[in-house]
C-alpha cells in the first residue's frame, strides 16, 4: 500500500530533492503520511531538546568546576603573592631593627616569602593563558622582584658595615615595593577576581535555550496527543505519553538542578569568596601597617610628609584606619576591613576569629602609642623594645592579629568549598541523564506514532 507519486513523469529528469518534496506533499495528503511527518518532527524536537539541555548543562558544570578548581585557587594564589611580598618587605625592615646581624628566623622568613612569591608567580603564569591583563602584571612582578631582592641585600651589606647607607637602601627598596610591586600584585589579584566573577556568571546563567526547547517539545507532544484524541477518541498513546513524561522529567530536572546549583554557587560567593576577599585585604593592611611601624624606627625621622609628619607614621595611621576604623577603642564600625569581615561572616565560627583579631588590633594600637611616646621623648632603645621585643610589644600583637585572620581565612575557605561543591553536585549526571531520557523520549514518540500507523495496515 505504498503511495507513489501520481504526478506524471516530466519530460526531463528531476532532482532527488524535488522528487522527495513531491513525495512529501503527496504523503501529507494522507493520514499515514501525516502521521509519519508528525512522528519525525516530534522525535526531532525531543532529541534537540535533549541535546541542547545536555550542552548547556555541560557548559555550566564546566564553569562551576572552573570556579572551584581553577579561578578561586588562582585568586587565592594572587592574594598569597600579594601577602608574601608585603610580608617580605615587613620582615626585611624588622631585620634591620635587630642590629647589625639579623636573626636566623627573620632571614628564613624573608627567604620563604620570596620563594613563595616566585613559585606562585610561575603557577600564575602557567594559568594565565586567557588573560592578557594578568600576563602583563606577572611580567612586571617577574622583572621587579629580583631587583627588589638585590636592593634589600645591598641594604643588609651596608648595615653589616655599620653604615647608615643601609637604612637608605632599605627605604628605597620599600619605595620600590610600595610603588611598583604591590600595585602589580594588586592588579593581578583584581584580574583573577574578574575571571572568577566571569566564571561565576557563566555557571549561574539560566539555560533559557534548553528550557525553551523543552517547552516547545512538550507543547508539540501535547498537541500531537490532543490531535490523536480528537481523531481516534483514545486518550492515551503509551509511546507518546512516555515521551511526554521523559521530556517533562528532563525539563524539571534541568530547572531544579540548575536552580540548586545556582543557589549553591551564590552561597559560595556570598559566604565564601566575598569574605575571603575582605579577609585577604585585612591581612595585607595589617602587614603594611607593621611594615610602616618598623620603617619609622629604621628611618628615624629622615622622611617627612608635606604636612611635617613622619612619613611612615602617617602610613601606619592610615593603614590602621583602613583595617579597623579611625577610633582606637571598641568595635570597628562599617567602612573598614574588619567591620566588613564581621558583617560577612555568617556563623559564629567565622566571627570569633575576626573579633579576636579586632581585640588584638586595639591592643596593638595601644602599645604603638606607648612606643611612639618613648621615641618622641628620645628613648630610642625603649621604643625599639616596645616594637620588636618578645613580649608586651606591638610585634606580639601583630602576630596574634595575623594568626586570627589566618584562622578566619581557613574557615571561610572551607565554607566556600562546601557550598560550591554542593552546587556542583546538583549538576552532576544531569547532562547524561538529559541525553538518555531524551533519546528514550524520541524512541517513545516514534513507537507511539508507529503504533497508530500500524492501524493503517
Amino acid at each position: 500500500m505504498s503511495t507513489t507519486s501520481v504526478s506524471p513523469p516530466a519530460t526531463g529528469r528531476r532532482t532527488a530533492w524535488a522528487e522527495g518534496l513531491d513525495e512529501l506533499r503527496a504523503a501529507a495528503r494522507t493520514e499515514p503520511g501525516r502521521l509519519r511527518v508528525i512522528g519525525a518532527v516530534l522525535a526531532l524536537l525531543v532529541v534537540v531538546f535533549g541535546t541542547v539541555a545536555a550542552w548547556q548543562v555541560t557548559n555550566r558544570a564546566a564553569a562551576a568546576d572552573d570556579v572551584v578548581e581553577h579561578s578561586q585557587p588562582l585568586t587565592a594564589d594572587a592574594a598569597s603573592i600579594y601577602r608574601s611580598l608585603a610580608d617580605a618587605d615587613t620582615t626585611a625592615a624588622a631585620g634591620f631593627l635587630t642590629g647589625r646581624t639579623e636573626s636566623g628566623a627573620i632571614r628564613d622568613r624573608y627567604a620563604a616569602d620570596l620563594s613563595t612569591a616566585s613559585a606562585l608567580l610561575v603557577k600564575a603564569a602557567a594559568n594565565s593563558s586567557g588573560s592578557p591583563a594578568a600576563r602583563a602584571q606577572i611580567a612586571r612582578l617577574n622583572s621587579g622582584l629580583p631587583r627588589y631582592a638585590g636592593l634589600v641585600e645591598t641594604a643588609r651589606a651596608n648595615n653589616r658595615q655599620g653604615l647608615p647607607l643601609g637604612g637608605a637602601y632599605l627605604r628605597y627598596a620599600n619605595e620600590r615595593m610600595r610603588t611598583e610591586l604591590l600595585p602589580a600584585a594588586r592588579a593581578l589579584y583584581d584580574a583573577e577576581t574578574d575571571r572568577l566573577a566571569a566564571d561565576y556568571r557563566a555557571a549561574g546563567a539560566r539555560p533559557w535555550l534548553a528550557m525553551g526547547a523543552g517547552v516547545v517539545a512538550i507543547g508539540a507532544l501535547g498537541w500531537a496527543q490532543r490531535r490523536h484524541y480528537r481523531r481516534t477518541n483514545r486518550v492515551f498513546n503509551r509511546g507518546l505519553v512516555a515521551a511526554t513524561a521523559s521530556s517533562a522529567v528532563v525539563l524539571v530536572w534541568l530547572v531544579a538542578g540548575h536552580t540548586v546549583a545556582r543557589t549553591g554557587l551564590t552561597g559560595s560567593y556570598e559566604h565564601g569568596a566575598r569574605s575571603l576577599r575582605v579577609l585577604n585585604e585585612a591581612r595585607i593592611d595589617a602587614l603594611q601597617a607593621r611594615g610602616d611601624e618598623n620603617l619609622t624606627l629604621v628611618a628615624r625621622g629622615a622622611v617627612l610628609t608635606g604636612g611635617g609628619q613622619d612619613f611612615y607614621e602617617a602610613g601606619f595611621r592610615s593603614g590602621m584606619a583602613d583595617l579597623a576604623g579611625g577610633g582606637e577603642h571598641g568595635d570597628a564600625g562599617p567602612g573598614n576591613r574588619l567591620g566588613a569581615a564581621l558583617a560577612l561572616a555568617d556563623d559564629e565560627a567565622g566571627r570569633r576569629p575576626v573579633r579576636e583579631a579586632l581585640t588584638r588590633v586595639r591592643q596593638w594600637q595601644e602599645r604603638h602609642g606607648a612606643a611612639r611616646a618613648a621615641d618622641d621623648k628620645g628613648d630610642y632603645e625603649r621604643a625599639l623594645a616596645k616594637v620588636i621585643g618578645p613580649e608586651g610589644s606591638t610585634g606580639e600583637s601583630f602576630d596574634r592579629v595575623a594568626a586570627g585572620l589566618q584562622r578566619a581565612l581557613v574557615h571561610e575557605q572551607a565554607e566556600f568549598r562546601s557550598a560550591a561543591d554542593a552546587g556542583r553536585a546538583a549538576l552532576r549526571g544531569l547532562a547524561v541523564g538529559a541525553g538518555v531520557l531524551a533519546a528514550a523520549g524520541a524512541v517513545g514518540a516514534v513507537l507511539g506514532i508507529g503504533r497508530r500507523l500500524a492501524e493503517y495496515r
Binding site: G99, R100, N158, N159, G162, L163, P164, L165, G167, A168, Y169, R171, Y172, A299, R300, G301, A302, V303, L304, G308, D310, F311, D375, K377, G378, Y380, E381
Partner: protein, 341 residues
C-alpha cells in the same frame, strides 16, 4: 631777553636739588669708603683660620670685634656673630641644672656627625661630642644627656616649643633663622659642594655639570642653589640627602649637591665617590638655642672657646681627627668666633 632770564632762573631751580644731593652723596662716600675699605684690609690671615682647600671661604681674625652696633641688621657677613662668652648661670642654665639633664636635638642618620652605631646602639659623631662637652661644662662629669632625634624641619619648632634645650645638628646659621632662634658662634665652616664618582668628568659646580642628572635633597639649600644656577643640569630631588648616594650608586644620578659636611659623610660610606671642586657657598654651623636663652648662648660660646683652644691638641682638633679628617682633609683649625657685642 626776558625769556632767557626766566629760563636761567628755572635752570637754577632745577639744578639746586641735584647739586645738594651730589654733595650729600660725596660726604657719605667720604665717610663710608674708608670704613668698608678698611674692612677688606682686615682680611689678612691670622692664626687658627681655615686653610686653602676652602679658599673661597671668608677667613676671620680671632677675637676681632666688628665695629657694628648691637642691633645692626643681620647681613650675610654678620650672620655668624653671637654674644660674648660668659660663665654666669642665668635663668636658662639654672633651669637645666634644676632639671638635672640636658636635652639636645640631634640627627641620628648623618654618618660621622650624629649617627646611631648599630653595633653599640649608641649615638656618636662630631656633633655628639660637642653636645657632650657642653653638657659636661654645665652639669659636671658624666652628665645625663638626653639625645632627641629631630627631623630637619622640626629643628626650629622643637626649640620654640622648648622640647629640646639646644639643637646641635649641622645647622647653618643664617639671617632668616636668626629671627626665630639664637645661635652660638660658628663651630664649623662648610658650604654647598658637589660630590661625584672619582672617575666622573664633573669637576666642580660649573659647566662640567651640563647634561648631567644632579641629585639634591628636597627643600634644602642645595636645591635652592641648584635651581638658581643649574648649569644645564637636570635636577632630581629626593626626601633625604643620603638617598642621593643611593641614586648615585644605582646609576640614576651623576652627581650630588649638598653640604660639604654631609657630602663628606657620604664619601665616607663609598670610597668610589669624592668631593669635587670647592664649596661654592659659605655656611657656618652653630648651636641653636631658644631666642630668650641669652645666658645659655653665652655659656655655650664659652664652652666653644675652650673647645677650640689648645692648638692641635684642642678638643676640636681631636674630634676633627676622629670623625672628619679622613674625608675632609686639609682643615688646620676651627673657625674663629665673631661677636656682636
Amino acid at each position: 631777553m626776558r625769556v632767557r632770564a626766566r629760563g636761567l632762573v628755572n635752570l637754577r631751580a632745577v639744578l639746586a636739588p641735584v647739586a645738594s644731593g651730589m654733595g650729600v652723596m660725596a660726604a657719605a662716600a667720604a665717610v663710608l669708603v674708608p670704613a668698608l675699605g678698611g674692612d677688606a684690609a682686615r682680611d689678612t690671615p691670622g692664626p687658627g683660620r681655615v686653610s686653602p682647600p676652602a679658599a673661597t671661604h671668608r677667613t676671620y681674625v680671632p677675637g676681632t670685634a666688628q665695629a657694628a652696633p648691637a642691633l645692626a641688621p643681620c647681613t650675610a657677613r654678620t650672620a655668624a656673630e653671637s654674644l660674648r662668652p660668659s660663665t654666669e648661670d642665668g635663668a636658662a642654665v639654672k633651669r637645666i641644672k634644676e632639671k638635672g639633664q640636658l636635652v639636645v636635638g640631634v640627627d641620628q642618620n648623618t654618618y660621622r656627625w650624629g649617627y646611631r652605631n648599630p653595633a653599640t646602639g649608641e649615638l656618636e659623631g662630631f656633633d655628639i661630642d660637642l653636645a657632650r662637652a657642653i653638657a659636661e661644662d654645665i652639669l659636671g662629669p658624666h652628665p645625663p644627656v638626653v639625645f632627641k632625634a629631630v627631623p630637619t624641619n622640626q629643628r626650629i619648632p622643637a626649640l620654640q616649643k622648648r622640647s629640646v634645650d639646644m639643637v646641635v645638628r649641622t645647622m647653618t646659621i643664617n639671617c632668616v633663622r636668626k629671627q626665630q632662634v639664637a645661635f652660638s658662634t660658628s663651630y664649623f665652616q662648610a658650604g654647598q659642594q658637589v660630590l661625584a664618582p672619582v672617575a666622573s668628568k664633573v669637576t666642580a659646580f660649573d659647566d662640567s655639570l651640563r647634561g648631567k642628572r644632579v641629585c639634591t635633597a628636597a627643600g634644602s639649600t642645595g636645591e635652592t642653589a641648584l635651581r638658581a644656577r643649574p648649569h644645564g643640569a637636570q635636577v632630581l630631588t629626593v626626601p633625604n640627602q643620603l638617598d642621593c648616594l643611593v641614586r648615585l650608586q644605582l646609576g640614576r644620578a651623576d652627581a650630588v649637591v649638598t653640604d660639604s659636611a654631609l657630602a663628606a659623610a657620604q664619601a665616607a660610606q663609598d670610597p668610589t665617590v669624592e668631593l669635587k671642586g670647592k664649596p661654592f657657598t659659605d655656611e657656618s654651623y652653630g648651636v641653636a638655642m631658644n631666642k630668650d636663652d641669652t645666658d645659655l648662648v653665652r655659656r655655650v660660646n664659652k664652652v666653644l672657646d675652650d673647645y677650640r683652644g689648645g692648638g692641635t691638641k684642642s678638643p676640636w682638633m681631636q674630634a676633627y681627627r676622629t670623625w672628619l679628617r679622613a674625608d675632609l682633609p686639609g682643615i688646620s683649625g676651627p673657625p674663629s668666633p665673631q661677636y656682636s657685642d
